[in-house]
């Protein structure tokens, strides 16, 4: 009998599902909104459809991310830190440091060969240290997140963003734009400001190579370049940096099942049913 495992990562901005067979069978990325429970159901449903699987085939499900407790069908909840470590190590075994830049926080994680977490730091008190910073600015400038990275790479004279607070920086950027500072320069400034902050945080870990960037920040080439400059190191980005958390969760699901099998333990699982939930 083939076994299927799923990991679901409910982030503050994106919900991601990975279904695992021997390798990644399928993955789906959807937005997260106020209705986390419903979206969890929806994204899962989509993933199952894509994989042509009935829900009952999924042996074990691990949820992770900011909204991990809001997943009605998850059998076990794990933090993003453990999950990213597993996921990244699976894709890039030589990774020793992970920098995850998400919408709610950013993290630095040090791992060993097997993907075990050795140490970590995270920032989550203030939006100024997270991907949200970029989102807010992009929104102010009226450009989409997808364009942000490329645009900033065109800059020759990055602007200096003097405010840390996201809200004040937003104001500053808007004012500079009105004064005619070119958009790419502003974006480059914003990226280096965030990169500085992230660099400062991860420097608390003794950074070792290879360094892998995950989370939405990994999709932003402007930010990556700034970060690489700050750290003075080469950065690796997985093909799809958003899903390493969900992938790790699925891998952990598999490990749990295998471990249980070895120790002849019967695992409790939740009912495999997608519910309709309406909020707002």
């Amino acid at each position: 009998m083939t076994s299927y495992f799923a990991g679901i990562d409910i982030g503050s901005t994106m919900t991601k599902v990975v279904i695992l067979k021997d390798g990644i069978l399928t993955f789906v990325i959807g937005p997260t909104g106020p209705e986390q429970r419903r979206l969890a159901n929806k994204v899962m449903e989509e993933a199952l459809k894509k994989a042509h699987l009935p829900f009952s085939e999924i042996q074990y499900i691990v949820s992770t991310g900011y909204g991990r407790i809001n997943v009605p069908f998850s059998d076990r909840q794990m933090t993003e830190i453990t999950c990213h470590a597993k996921g990244v190590s699976y894709l890039i075994p030589e990774a020793r440091t992970i920098i995850d830049i998400g919408g709610q926080d950013s993290k630095g994680i040090k791992i060993d060969r097997t993907g075990k977490v050795l140490d970590f730091v995270m920032n989550d008190k203030c939006a100024a240290g997270s991907g949200r910073f970029i989102e807010v600015i992009a929104d102010t400038l009226g450009i989409s997140l997808k364009e942000v990275g490329e645009l900033s790479l065109q800059s020759h004279h990055p602007a200096k963003i003097s405010n840390i607070c996201t809200i004040w920086a937003q104001q500053e950027v808007a004012a500079s734009l009105a004064q005619g500072v070119p958009l790419p320069d502003l974006l480059a400034g914003v990226h280096s400001s965030l990169a500085e902050r992230i660099g400062r945080m991860v420097s608390r870990l003794k950074i070792e190579k290879e360094i892998v960037v995950t989370g939405g920040g990994g999709k932003n080439r402007g930010l990556l370049q700034a970060l690489s400059e700050v750290l003075g190191e080469r950065l690796i980005v997985p093909e799809e940096p958003l899903i390493t958390g969900a992938l790790g969760a699925a891998l952990i699901a598999r490990e749990i099942v295998e471990g249980a099998k070895k120790n002849k333990i019967v695992l409790k699982t939740k009912e495999r049913q997608l519910e309709e939930v309406e909020i707002l």
Binding site: M78, T79, E80, I81, T82, K116, V117, L118, F120, M122, D124, K125, I252, E255, I256, G259, A260, N263, I265, L267, K268
Partner: protein, 391 residues
Amino acid sequence: MKIDEVFSMIENQFNQYGSRARQLREEGRKVMGYVCSFVPLEMITASGAIPFRVRGNIQEPITLGDTLLETIVCPYYRSCFDLSIKGRYEFLSGMVIPHACDSMVRSYSVWTYSLPYSYFHFVNVPTVCEESSFEFFEEELKNFKRSLERFMGKSIEEEDLLKAIQLYNQNREKIRALYELRKSDPPLLSGTELMMTLTVGSGLPVDESNEWFDRVIKAVKGRSASPLSKGPRILIDGACIDHIELVKLVEELGGNVVADTICNGTRDSFPKTEESGDPIRALSRRYLDKLNCPKTYRANKAGTFEGDVANRFGDIGAYAKEFRVDGAILYVYKYCDPFGFEVPARKAYYQSIHVPMLHLEDTYSAGNLGQLRTRIQAFLEMIGGLEEKEV
């Protein structure tokens, strides 16, 4: 008493911290507030007053306190001041503050001029620990004694002091016995229960506190099973932790808190006072030398960094072994200078004894706890395996 009864009474007293002290005040006793582990409680008890540890409240936002005290004071201490100035401890007759950290020293005037108590005293504890420091500290304790005598209107006799020393030594033995109950795996007494019990004790006259500890010990010994399931065994390293939220969070997430170095725990409760010889001298040794607090500078006698940290933090290693600790959480408040400066050295020490450590900087506010949650959970995942938890 049944165990549930005991703990529900403890919880009650914990939630109404100070109610017994208020009652005693109404009965005409004098209740003396204090903070930190450096105030010799024996002296207060011997004077006839009842020492009462002033606590903060992590659930209550600091408001009134901020109007007089800068927010760069350690948040725990600000909370203590906030509650005091809001009148929560109006039953106190006085307040004794020691020289423990800049937050305490520099705000001493603010306390003494803003609170309506009729007695204030500052105990100047030396920063270094040498022969001349003991001499000085003895004089300082004698001055404290004279000051208390003046306030209480009666002299403190040597036998009063000796009796108080004995009572506190008993108290510390009982606390030791409570800690013994955490050695089994899973521990028979949860960290949350212990923290509550100790906190309740710090708001009672020492003889009453002794009775309570006896009750708890007896009840817990009669327990057939632990209130917790097996999980990583955690040591909490830090300063004044007078709330249960951190420990509760760890235990909620599947860790078991089995040991600590904190001021409200082993730092203050394990070292005992010599019962023979001159009592003041004995007290000066206990408080200055035996209390292992970063506040007291201890010269590097080893000449190497490794040797120095082994001397300074040896108790951590000993507890880690004794209580079979899997990991430690170093919990330090923002703006706490004595502990803050030791983080790198402590980190190195934990590495040297191969105990994984999580460093948390907290702002003593309930709003911040959510942020600790993910960190603690990840740390527990990091040190615990995946498999053994499932049934």
